[in-house]
């Protein structure tokens, strides 16, 4: 029997994927982080403090909302929405930032840095830094600072310094490179709050543990309202943190099928996408071995997506493991489909999702109509769409113009 979960071994490997491929300068810091995280996880005081912050500050638990009109429109399974868009700062990112922020304090680090694509993780990090009295610097690709100008201003209002990154392709991957360079230089007083389940060990494990709250709550909530487990879970996959957060506590239940949705951009065949599993292959990138979009020489390729948060060449190693074991199915939807997903959820349920999340909605539109009416599906609404309204507006204008 295939192993259902891929919990990492001592060296941070999920099957063949993961590990710790970083310059020597960072290894001791990663070892310290691993030790402190393990200790904190077993420390009732740390857990109580995090639980209290998640409840009183971030507003957890987030609701599990039944979506009657979406259910009717699909004409298949009953659709529930896990409302991470209602978590403080508007996305699941806050779960991880609170955990890592408390950990940074515990390690006596007074300064935090973060990378951000869409700006959601940057905003969440800046928020937590303000709340915990930590200095904060956020690296963001110059291209993304333009796409997400409002979030840049939000971070600055929160007291963070936002650094536009002008190297490479000027997007999320380059922001991570630059954050790593900062960390290599300031590792003694700085903690790097990585925003997803990628990077060197222990990040994929640690971020997963901080995001597992999504799946734990969902399990309880769906059992409460339906008296049974869902048949199917759907989440978008950038680095993969909202997806693994929802999936993890169901991995041991073989009847629960899971779908991870990547950014198909202009279509996988166009070469302009961020679909790592259909358009990439294993490689070593930004600290771990995992699927990555690269050319035949091993150079990391520029990706494309309408959503900055999914526009990333790499993916968390645990997802690579789950992909190869077949436990989770990965597929992609295009920019255009994602836009339809955004409009669909907005018009039918009054919820405008982040464009990242819109990919999960679009995929649901593809598979839920084929499901039975007595089945249950949960879609992770990883974030709210306010940040994307401008992008949606210009995309719609272009679309009407093109007609």
């Amino acid at each position: 029997m295939k192993k259902r979960t891929c919990s990492p071994d001592r060296r941070g490997y999920f099957g063949a994927y993961g590990g710790r491929f970083v310059p020597e300068t960072l290894v001791p810091a990663l070892q310290q982080l691993q030790r402190e995280f393990t200790r904190a996880r077993g420390d009732p005081r740390f857990r109580a403090e995090l639980r209290a912050m998640l409840r009183d500050y971030a507003g957890r638990p987030t609701p599990l909302t039944f979506a009657p009109r979406l259910t009717e429109a699909f004409g298949g399974a009953r659709v529930y929405l896990k409302r991470e868009d209602l978590a403080f700062t508007g996305a699941h990112k806050i779960n991880n930032c609170l955990g890592q922020g408390l950990l940074a304090k515990r390690m006596g680090k007074r300064r935090v840095i973060a990378e951000t694509g869409a700006g959601q993780h940057g905003v969440a990090t800046a928020t937590v830094a303000a709340r915990l009295g930590l200095q904060c610097r956020v690296y963001m690709g110059e291209e993304d600072t333009r796409r997400q100008a409002l979030n840049v201003f939000r971070m600055e209002l929160l007291g963070a310094t936002v650094v536009p990154v002008t190297s490479g392709s000027r997007t999320l991957k380059d922001a991570i490179d630059e954050a790593m360079r900062d960390w290599v230089t300031n590792v003694r007083n700085t903690h790097f709050v990585l925003g997803t389940v990628a990077g060197p060990h222990p990040y994929p494990l640690m971020v997963r543990e901080f995001q597992r709250v999504i799946g734990r709550e969902t399990r309880r909530q769906v059992l409460n309202s339906e008296g049974r487990l869902p048949d199917c879970l759907i989440a978008c996959v950038g680095g993969g943190s909202n997806a693994i957060g929802l999936f993890y506590d169901f991995l041991g239940d073989p009847a629960v099928r899971m779908y991870g949705v990547e950014a198909g951009g202009l279509g996988v065949r166009s070469g302009r996408h961020a679909a790592r599993f259909s358009g990439g292959r294993p490689g070593v990138f930004q600290g771990s071995m995992s699927y990555v979009i690269q050319d035949s020489d091993g150079q990391i390729r520029t990706t494309h997506s309408i959503s900055a948060g999914l526009d990333y060449a790499g993916v968390g190693p645990e997802h690579s493991c789950l992909y190869e074991s077949g436990r989770v199915r990965y597929d992609s939807v295009t920019d255009r489909e994602a836009l339809e997903g955004f409009l669909l959820l907005s018009s039918l349920e009054g919820i405008s999702p982040a464009l990242e999340t819109a990919h999960a909605i679009a995929y649901a539109a593809r598979i839920v109509p084929r499901m039975k009416k007595n089945q249950i599906v949960v879609i992770n609404i990883s974030g709210r769409g306010d940040k994307d309204v401008e992008i949606v507006r210009s995309a719609l204008r272009r679309r009407t113009g093109a007609r």
Partner: protein, 267 residues
Amino acid sequence: MKNRIDERFARLAREGRKGFIAYLTAGDPSPAATAPLVDAIEAAGADIVELGVPFSDPLADGVVNQRSAERALRRGVNLATVLEIVRRIRTRSEIPIVLFTYLNPVVAYGFERFAAHAQRAGVDGVLALDLPLEEAGRYRRILDARGIRSIALIAPTTPPERVRRIARHARGFIYYVSRTGVTGEQRQIAFDLARHVRTIRQVTTLPIAVGFGISTPAHVKEASRIADAVVVGSAIVKEIERCRRPAALPAILGRRVRQLSAPLRSR
């Protein structure tokens, strides 16, 4: 197996000299330019050359080396090109060559295939920046089988017990990263350099090279007091970036290397 790095350090020790290691990105400003540049820096007194394999995401490098890699990539340089450059250098020089690389281009090429081709081309050592001790084992064994030295890095943040373990598995020489940070020029070298190098000396008989941020003759002089060799990168690469006339570049780099390595000759 005989190895040019070992031989060079043995000779330096016999002659009571300290070594000068020059870094260049292979293929910057063009694939054809590198071999003549290596000729020039060798003639100017370089003992070992480190050739950088350009990578799209050089997260341990400062801006000077990042831009250098970008220029090389724009010229279509890949690992095969780099090995071709090494072959060209070997038609006229026996200078020890270390490839300075990130892991992914080598993984994409196929590590065993790379080791075989590198040996045939005349590569003497490989330093993979993102390959720490815990991950290095199986790659080191492949290089060992080809007589290529797998060079290990030690950083200012490396605790003593870990220094010992890294030293035990080290080959060729130990590369001590002289500062907590990325490659690039700096004004001063770290005040605690001597102490760190002494710690490494206590646990190894291998030569110790010091690099990262060494960018003036004064730095070279200071670092060479305690190390067996000094590595200069960005200060050389910057000349390539600055130069508008590629034909003049060998002379310019030669002059720069002569100036930087001068403290190692006059004692």
